[in-house]
Symmetry: C2
Subunit: 377 residues, 2 copies
């Protein structure tokens, strides 16, 4: 028996009471019992997203809701800016191009946050940009992008919307959709929502719904207007992932109990401790200037392959994530989002110390655990 | 406490050992432990579909795999025949039209099976038909369409493929993909596969993969070629619905234990008993000539609204399905697929007798239960 510890940036651990809720016998999705569950879920999602809009729910991974955003709100030829500072930024760019949008790639060095001034410059230069597509938290690099600054740039511009992939943002740090004026917020179930993968969410502002009326791209399964119409009647357009919805109700109850402020504060506390621990080990953060509270990306120290760190940890029962694409081997990523507490951070740091030691890194008496403990007192 | 009995044609009940498997802590989808699970699932799916092709798995409802079939295999203007004999046949037609295909609707009276001669006549007349899109089992009417006859029509025609929505067909009655020469077979998790909703499946023949090479429609989340490439490496293109995949492994083990022949025989036995019971009550089957072994559709007797039958049964804790669209109120549907046994059929019939009695139907001493018991001896 080797006990397993999941510290990857999604899927994340599922709390026992949620596992238990999902293990209950199946409810039929057209039965009144389901309507009650879904009504509670709809309310809980509005609180989570801090919006009065309906939060649409799809049976898919988060990518489905990203694709849905493109095919529901835009038309071929529409000019959009894609903030491309990591693997998920590239996904916005790819999706836009596949559907014939005129994508202006704003390339940002991996590990850096986008500068809102650079977006402002493109908006100024181009004039007719329909949307800015960005991540709130770029999971591949551990960066938090300045969503509020970009939202402020677009405030009052009726012809430009802000589309935010907040897959590792919602439920991690503040992204109050209505207050900040975010037009589309997308997330998935398997991150801060502490559920198995299989649900995607999208909330759409009044401004963005007007884009939906003009969009000419074909769509069917990810049809936002059809889903909205059904949600307002308390149901789903297609058979929903019932067991995940039942689990989601439980998660949203937990969020309400902890309060959204509490959830954000816990993530900030854990992220601060993880970063302090990592730096105390003499390691460099990959995104020191704008780190996301969802996941800490760390540069592999000289002479050590980041993938080896991942492998050694796996051998000890601890799952973290490596780098992707051109930073593969150069970084590794420790997550602290969702169903995470103080001792998960300490476990991650303790395991990391042991792995680095095994790989020949000289710890020189340094302790990441101790540094983190100081912050978790 | 009112005990609940789920006799609707999906979602269907989930066996306890599957619920238990899904309640286990989350496995990371890029970890070796997941690869092992997915490898077993891939083999089990090939057995279930009776194919040597890869069976692609998507986190979505079955509709997602139907849409995927359209956008991966066809191009705008392609001429296809949609067998439109129920709500799901209409879905093929709608999907084709939304994506700009030239859809020839072959309308079939609800409750009837399509005549393969009618398909042959259109193929003859039109010459350049790229595909026949049909259901194996039309869930909305309880009809089984003659898939093998249609497959025989298309045998040897390199330019025409047979696309089968087998969402309530796979795991219910024989549909050996390779032996019959079916080109695309689609199913979902929440029917005979005894899982919660949230997974869709599609298997594609060599002939149909050639269509994929020529197709010009844009796609991303439901990209068959990308999913195939990933599956062959033992993984998924996007984050899979891990807990459902773990449940699926358990289901596929159950199918292997019972054998596919055993699974089909059980469904035939239950369906025969249900039909005999319904007819013994003096009721008419909605699809007497070609009934599906997944679900029995019954005409509401004169003077009784089918929706009232559904409501009265629900009041007793028994969930069945009503009619949809223009047969709403005219029929009701009792399912016997997936995790179903003799006493589910008897429960359905006993509850139906009580509901009909309550609604003023004169049973005149007739017993559906007794008639079914005779067949279940």
């Amino acid at each position: 028996m080797q006990k397993q510890y999941l510290l990857a940036p999604g899927p994340t651990p599922v709390p026992p009471r949620v596992l238990q809720a999902m293990a209950l016998p199946i409810v039929h999705h057209r039965a009144p019992a389901y309507k009650e569950i879904f009504a509670e879920v709809r309310e809980g999602l509005k609180y989570l997203f801090q919006t009065s809009q309906e939060v649409l729910v799809f049976a898919s991974s988060g990518t489905g809701a990203m694709e849905g955003t493109i095919v529901n709100l835009f038309s071929p030829g529409d000019k959009v800016i894609a903030v491309r500072g990591g693997k998920f930024g590239e996904r916005w760019s790819d999706l836009g191009k596949i559907y014939g949008l005129n994508v202006i790639d704003l390339d940002v060095e991996w590990g850096q946050a986008v500068k809102s001034a650079d977006i402002a410059a493109i908006l100024e230069r181009e004039g007719d940009v329909k949307a800015v597509l960005m991540q709130a938290s770029e999971t591949s690099t551990g960066v938090m992008h300045p969503v509020k600054e970009v939202a402020d740039l677009l405030r009052g511009k009726d012809d430009t919307i802000l589309v935010v992939d907040a897959i590792t943002g919602v439920g991690v740090f503040p992204l109050p959709m209505d207050e900040w004026g975010l037009d589309v917020v997308v997330t998935g179930s398997q991150k801060a929502l502490m559920l198995p993968p299989g649900l995607a969410f999208a909330a759409v502002s009044d401004k963005a719904w007007k884009f939906n009326e003009r969009s000419t791209l074909p769509r069917y399964y990810f049809d936002f207007a059809k889903e909205l119409k059904n949600a307002q009647k308390g149901q789903n357009a297609y058979t929903p992932a019932v067991s995940l919805i039942v689990g989601l109700r439980e998660v949203l109850r937990m969020v309400k109990e902890e309060t959204l402020e509490g959830v954000h504060a816990r993530h900030a506390r854990l992220a601060d401790a993880m970063r302090a621990g990592v730096e105390a080990l003499g390691l460099e953060l990959f995104a020191p200037d704008a780190p996301s509270n969802a996941v800490t990306a760390v540069r592999a120290p000289a002479g050590i392959d980041g993938q080896d760190v991942v492998k050694v940890l796996r051998g000890r029962g601890v799952t973290i994530a490596g780098g992707q694409d051109h930073v593969k081997g150069k970084i590794f990523r420790l997550a602290h989002l969702g169903y995470a507490g103080d001792f998960d951070v300490l476990t991650g740091l303790a395991a990391l110390e042991m792995a680095l030691n095994e790989l020949g890194y000289d710890l020189a008496g340094r302790s990441g655990v101790r540094a983190a403990q100081e912050l978790l007192k």
